[in-house]
Amino acid sequence: MKKIFSGTLILMTIVFFSCKKDYTIGGSITDPHVNMTTYDYLKTNPLFDTLLLLIDRTGLKDEVNASGTFFAITDYSIKNYITKKQEDLRVKLNDENLVYTFDSINYAVMKDSLRAYLFKDKITRDNTTEIGRFFKSNDGELRLVQLIPTTDYTDGTVFTTKPKYIYLTKLIATEHGYPVPTDSTGLPGLKEGQELQALCQTTGILTTTGVLHVLNNNHTFTYFADLNN
């Protein structure tokens, strides 16, 4: 009897302790915290060097570090913007040789465009939903932050709960004159094509100053490519 009891005790101890192990990825426990400010963290990755140049020239360094959330755009997004802007100006000014570069950007005007990616609130996966929640960006515009399920990596049948991606979404009025909602009550009435969605490729980095999300490389800064859809 004593033997059985001690055997059970050992088994229980093993079961109890094995459960307590932390989930590990890549050999260490993932920690979303980085011990740097948002600005300094961006400096560690060459994917953001043009963005940093833009932040410096618009003088928004302090505002970036003071904001609760920053949806960082990569260099590709700025490049996309410059290409599109050049195409657009060539048509508008009827000058097919016009050259538009990073230096041609009017930084005073761009200040607010960059502020549209900065938010006072701390936005994480926990405080948004699939249909989206409005957040006021630093330039005063409303942006929708959505958490949308995906069938990437699974075919949608293996797991009952799908993985979800964060999108930063700009709302527009279309040619049919559908109104842009100003609060969440208008969201169910949105029409296809009113949402310009930008997928985040990295999310939830917690710096010492706030939350950092990174938008995908195909995004065009200011949603410029999406506007005349």
Binding site: P149, T150, T151, D152, D155, T157, N218
Partner: protein, 489 residues
């Protein structure tokens, strides 16, 4: 001899009798659950199921690996294929038919076409032998024979546009071991055979449909004339093309669908449909987008498919802007066919009739759009093209403008070469992502103007044709590689 021994002798005797008699019976029986040609093809239902099987094989050929779009749309550069998700077809778009990761086993290989041709040849050989009294309506018999000739003509025409010359197999093989290897005929010989077949098909079939459920998904006289128009245009016989197309337009009973209901044309069985491949969830024939139907609905993502956040085949903004030019604000098609076409994830939403097999969970999306092979707008523009080539610009403009009016764009007034370009671009606009553009551009000798990535030298030397799969040579020593691709793979 005791009683016991006698008993066992009796049993032995009985057993041997049973074994001998039962053996002969079993061995003499014919298998009753397999279809073999002598016993099959004896009544109307056999003929009907055989032709339905042929359509199913054709459906499989055109849908698998997006074959219809990969041949007809991708190398026309309509799409800017994302190499991260579909690297093979991003090469096809550049004209690199032997490029890295191109699915050669599927796109270079014609074996499954000969499965279909075997089935069609069987029908052509056997259905005429079924007694007419076995059919409720004797016209059904000739109609089925006509459909078989139509399918043979269509298949060889499709193959000839892809590979040029192919082996002409016109009789069924009853014994696979006795099948002979046949060398590739010339493209001219293949097209001549197509015309001979389609002429028989036209004679055997009637216009219209008695059963609306069969509209466009089974061939009729209109489908056959539409096919003839396409074959003749491809051969450069524009007079013949014009006449055949005219028969479709005036006698076929088809009409353009109002642009308010444009979607219905792509869902299928509309008044405009001439020939389509049936894809219908209601008949359990939708295409499963996740899992099983891997690689379908490549031009779609959310919000059209719930949870799909990757777009394998975004449309090419440059190409779209090039063909729509300033008309993009007025052209109804620009809004009906595309979703956010100026963004990097522009979607082609012609084929976006999605339903979910698992209801509100939305985990199992299915595509329910027929594949348009021929439709009225296509044949009208083809006739306009022929009329223009024949110098009858006045009549061509009328047809062109009918299509333009439906799309909400102002009438065109021009002639000669400018009109030819306009008709071609109208086809590119109207038939975007319908498996036609590449062949339209090749037929008009303008491929490299619209797809600038396509090598001019390759095009000039016949490299617009596809290579054939080296794996097919191992059983067949009579085969030769497509000339341009000899020594290149």
């Amino acid at each position: 001899m005791n009683k016991r021994l006698l008993h066992s002798y009796n049993i032995l005797l009985l057993a041997s009798i049973m074994i001998v008699s039962s053996c002969s019976k079993i061995l003499d029986l014919e298998p009753h659950n397999s279809t073999f040609t002598e016993a099959y093809f004896s009544n109307e239902s056999d003929a009907n199921t055989a032709i339905a099987g042929a359509y199913a094989l054709l459906r499989n050929i055109l849908i698998t690996d997006n074959t219809w779009h990969v041949y007809g749309d991708v190398p026309a550069s309509e799409l800017l294929i994302n190499g991260n998700y579909d690297s093979g077809n991003s090469n096809v778009a550049l004209g690199l038919f032997t490029g890295l990761n191109v699915n050669g086993g599927s796109y270079w290989n014609w074996q499954k076409y000969y499965k279909l041709l075997q089935q069609v040849n069987l029908i052509i050989a056997k259905v005429p032998g079924i007694d007419s009294t076995k059919f409720v309506d004797p016209a059904t018999k000739s109609h089925i024979i006509g459909e078989a000739y139509f399918l043979r003509s269509f298949t060889y025409f499709f193959m000839s546009r892809v590979w040029g010359g192919v082996p002409l197999k016109l009789t069924p093989d009853y014994d696979a071991n006795a099948a002979l290897n046949i060398p590739r005929s010339t493209a001219d010989a293949v097209l001549a055979q197509c015309l001979a077949d389609v002429a028989i098909a036209e004679k055997n079939m009637a216009f219209g449909y008695t059963d609306e459920g069969q509209r466009a998904v089974r061939a009729n006289k209109g489908s056959a004339y539409a096919l003839e128009a396409h074959i003749r245009a491809w051969k450069g016989d524009y007079a013949g093309c014009e006449a055949a197309a005219n028969t479709v337009i005036t006698e076929g009973g088809y009409q353009l669908v109002d642009s308010a209901n444009y979607e219905s044309v792509f869902i299928g069985k509309s008044a405009e449909g001439i020939f389509e491949i049936n894809i219908n969830g209601g008949q359990n024939e939708g295409i499963a987008i996740n899992g099983g139907g891997n690689g379908s609905a490549n031009t779609l993502m959310q919000p059209f498919i719930y949870g799909k956040s990757r777009l394998e085949w975004p449309l090419s903004t440059i190409y779209v802007n090039n063909i729509y030019k300033a008309d993009s604000t007025t052209d109804i098609r620009y809004r009906k066919f595309f979703f956010q076409p100026q963004s990097s994830n522009g979607q082609v939403i012609k084929y976006a009739n999605i339903s979910y097999a698992d209801g509100s969970t939305k985990g199992d999306p299915r595509l329910n759009n027929n594949l348009n092979i021929f439709r009225l707008a296509d044949i009208m523009l083809l006739r306009a093209e022929a009329l223009n080539k024949l110098g009858r610009d006045g009549e061509a403009v009328v047809l062109l403008n009918k299509v333009r009016e439906r799309a909400g764009v102002p009438d065109y007034n021009g002639s000669g070469e400018a009109l030819a370009t306009e008709i071609l671009e109208e086809r590119l606009r109207e038939l975007f992502f319908e498996g036609q553009s590449y062949f339209d551009l090749v037929r008009n000798n303008k491929l490299t103007l619209y797809n600038e990535s396509f090598n001019q030298d390759q095009y000039n030397k016949g490299g617009w044709l596809w290579p054939i799969d080296p794996a097919m040579f191992k059983d067949d020593y009579t085969l030769a590689q497509t000339p341009y691709w000899q020594g290149k793979l």
